[in-house]
Symmetry: C2
Subunit: 352 residues, 2 copies
């Protein structure tokens, strides 16, 4: 898919404007379009293009198919003082997610802890920015999403688990810990990339349709991705997906739809947990934790560097904010094309 030769170098401001225009052209009001565009570009800046601009055409397709309401406002229902159920009303993921986080932050000032369960909201994209916002407000943040079935059970066959990611923040000086990891060994996009290039896969990435480990990328595309870390990663991913399903009433594993296609109603769910550190009598900016993270960073074998979760993305972001980032030409030209369609797409006011 990605070739070194056909990339375009863009800056964040331009990318956000073009992405925003593309969403407005499809029918979004400017404000939600801008939030969604910023979140996609944020993934590019942090070095995670899989969650970046290439997701935009799916969103546009979903708006046009009447599956995504770009101007929806979420509905909040507190089932108990620390338990928030959120109906996204089929809106953009980042719009619903940031509104939810603001709601949680107001609540934890009273309760110390609050949990939100989100359904009928679109793909949240990278989880890091959400938990980072919680971390920046002195909270431990957790973010869980269920995703389409792509990963096999350990010892089993078939894509029965999502890549069910986990986001987590622990506040400390200089940003603290910002974890954002999938529970798959590798992304589906990377396996497709290897298949297109005709390259063998590293061992441990995938199994074929019968559940047998394979390094044949074509066989892997008909099979499933392996969980990271063997049986433990499988157990973790299954548990995270089950937590999301249990709290949101959304679908499990193979019944999850709507983040990779433009033809099914969205059936995935998301969960946020916010825990105010000061409600436990502890400082939100613990010098002990900061010192411990520095000790970890300084532990590199053979003089190498060790990263704490969040470090790599922070470095990538600083660099890309200054000097821009690469987008593949096909993704960029598609978005520019969509942005130039203003007046043609389904306009604001459309409600699926």
């Amino acid at each position: 898919m990605t070739r070194d030769t056909d990339v375009r170098h863009v800056d964040a401001t331009t990318a956000i404007e073009v992405a925003c225009d593309a969403l407005v052209a499809a029918g979004s009001d400017p404000h939600p379009a801008r939030l969604q565009a910023e979140h996609l570009v944020e993934a590019e800046l942090r070095g995670h293009p899989s969650h970046g601009l290439r997701r935009l055409p799916i969103l546009v397709g979903r708006i046009r198919a009447g599956l995504l309401d770009p101007n929806a406002e979420p509905t909040f229902a507190w089932g108990a003082s620390a338990a928030l159920s959120v109906d996204g009303n089929l809106g953009f993921g980042p719009v619903v997610a940031y509104r939810t986080i603001d709601e949680l932050l107001r609540r934890v000032a009273q309760t110390g802890v609050a949990v939100a369960a989100l359904r009928r909201t679109h793909h949240l994209g990278m989880l890091a920015p959400y938990v980072e916002r919680l971390g920046g407000r002195g909270c431990i943040g957790l973010a869980l999403s269920s995703t389409e079935g792509l990963v096999h059970p350990w010892g089993g066959a078939g894509p029965l688990l999502g890549t069910n990611p986990l986001g987590a923040s622990v506040p400390a000086r200089d940003g603290g810990i910002v974890l954002d990891m999938s529970t798959g060994a590798v992304s589906a996009g990377k396996i497709l990339d290897y298949a297109e290039r005709g390259l063998p896969l590293p061992e441990g990435w995938a199994v074929d349709a019968d559940g047998h480990p394979t390094t044949d990328a074509d066989a892997a595309t008909r099979g499933s991705i392996s969980p990271f870390g063997g049986g433990k990663g499988y157990a973790l991913g299954l548990t995270l997906g089950a937590i999301v399903g249990a709290l949101t009433g959304t679908a499990y594993g193979p019944k999850v739809r709507g983040t990779l296609d433009a033809s099914h109603i969205v059936t995935k769910g998301d969960v946020f947990v916010a825990i105010d550190v000061e409600a436990f009598g502890q400082p939100a900016d613990s010098p002990e934790l900061a010192a411990y993270l520095d000790l970890i960073r300084a532990s590199g074998a053979d003089g190498g560097a060790v990263d704490v979760p969040g470090d790599r993305a922070r470095r990538a972001r600083r660099s890309a904010e200054e000097s821009g980032f690469d987008v593949t030409e096909d993704v960029w030209s598609t978005i520019v094309g969509l942005a130039s369609e203003a007046g043609i797409g389904v306009k604001a006011g459309h409600r699926p």
Copy 2:
């Protein structure tokens, strides 16, 4: 360490009685002794002897050293309506943990969600029984503990991370999900066992003192255990340990003491999260989740079986309850010896 020849077959009732006697002999009142003994035997029944009776002599040593107060009552302080800080007052882990869980269960009836941060409490042992109790009451449960530094950072050298385990329950028919996993690739006990037998380690288990991967068990005992799942497992373990430290004010990594020795005050911490599923308008016994777990169980490649987290321990428990379990002769004779010392040890009333 373990030889097939020198094991003793015991039944749960006898094991609990002897373990209880050993703790009473050391100065514990009968009630906390029984809770602690039951929790150790519970690990044996579930097939996890590393968290079973072999931990008892350490507890006795800690009581005698004045580091563990077997008759301590925990102190509860709600810093906000869903945020509970627990001072274990140096009591037994299971005693403090079950009291804390009861407190959380009462609270979630009002708040839907509650979190407890525990400090100055002793080793909780297996986390599964705690989250299982939460699951049995319709809650998603999470349990986190920090542990002594044994695991190296990914790319780094030195035992700077604990094996920081994660327990989690998601309620469903027949017990649902009960996860209990360490974030180390393997236990320290297993590496010691290989070293004593002079066997090479499987790849991926450990690094030497310089952070270089090794299959030399002796070198590994002077080095550190690898995280499970490479960089992702490292990131997860570090995050879990940081969450515990941030909420409890307890120590990080190499400064954690008191679960493997009888000479330092305990400096580890624990966190419980309880989330009442019904507070989110969802059933605590979702047929969709139960059906999904059965789909996972039926996915075995080549006709094999796949377990959902909790299945293996449930099978082991059923079998061991019926027919007993094996304990190594050295562990058993030590405990029997301790149990026969009634009247010799430090008696109840001793307060460190």
